[in-house]
């Protein structure tokens, strides 16, 4: 388990990438870099799903089908997210998260 690469190695790699992405989402002030961090998190989840697809359901390919739908949602999320960034940038002339406090009450 420790030296030949198997399921555990891919899961740990995916966990490391997910936590890097989480750190980025929590700390980045530039909203475009925040979207990039979200993409890192989604890719980490996809690595987990595809690793499980190879090692747990190698014939049914359930994990790969889940990964396809995650990619669909990621594409939709980026399109809407960049649209919202443009809309706010037109009003505020900024992409800094500190200025995105329109929804505060």
């Amino acid at each position: 388990m420790m030296f030949t690469v198997g399921l555990y190695h891919y899961l740990i790699l995916s966990a490391v990438l997910f936590c890097i992405g989480l750190f980025g989402v929590l700390t980045q002030r530039n909203v475009i870099k925040l979207i990039m961090s979200l993409e890192i998190m989604l890719n980490a989840v996809n690595i987990t799903l595809i690793a499980f697809s190879l090692y747990v359901t190698p014939v049914a390919l359930t994990g790969q089908i889940f990964a396809i739908f995650v990619m669909v949602v990621a594409a939709a999320e980026v399109a809407v997210g960049i649209g919202i960034v443009f809309a706010i940038y037109r009003n505020r002339e900024s992409v800094d998260m500190e200025n995105f406090n329109i929804l505060k009450w």
């Binding site: 990438l17 530039n30 990619m71």
Partner: protein, 161 residues
């Protein structure tokens, strides 16, 4: 030999993911993100997911990075980048705690691993599973509606009043 390839790819993925967060220039961060996407595609190839590797390159490298780069070029002050927010120590602690918890959970779990050999090519089984009779056809249609509504929503949000 596959072990060495895996460790090289894993190191490249982690380094490029960290570079995305830490490089000050946002455009260079986007280039590091492209490197990460292609590394992930190579990892999919190592996992015998040939179709997903191609889709990863088409969608992420071909479409999503282009969208992000267009967004960087259309927003003027995005180029210089800002320092990390005030929460960085708390966020680092939370991320490390989550990493420890996930790793502890993974290492202490015994997965029931069947010993089937992996499929040689996955395009045909994936197509049958997605569009076949006991398949995921309803989910595919829901995903199509989701994409359509996302496009309409993005157009409605961006449109000049």
């Amino acid at each position: 030999m596959p072990d060495l390839v895996f460790y090289g790819l894993a190191a490249l993925a982690v380094v490029s993911a960290l570079a995305v967060l830490l490089v000050r220039d946002v455009f260079r961060a986007a280039l590091c993100l492209i490197v990460l996407f292609m590394t992930v595609a190579a990892i999919y190839l190592m996992l015998h997911a040939d179709f997903l590797a191609i889709v990863q390159i088409l969608i992420y490298v071909g479409a999503i990075s282009v969208l992000i780069i267009v967004a960087i070029m259309l927003t003027r002050d995005a180029r210089q980048g800002q320092p990390l927010g005030a929460l960085k120590y708390v966020a680092g602690l939370v991320s490390l705690l989550l990493l420890g918890a996930i790793s502890w959970g993974i290492i202490n779990t015994q997965f029931g691993l069947p010993q089937n050999p992996p499929l040689d090519e996955t395009i045909k089984p994936l197509g049958k599973a997605l569009f076949g009779d006991p398949g995921y056809l309803l989910t595919v249609q829901i995903a199509a509606v989701l994409l359509l509504s996302a496009i309409l929503g993005a157009v409605a949000v961006i449109r000049e009043k």
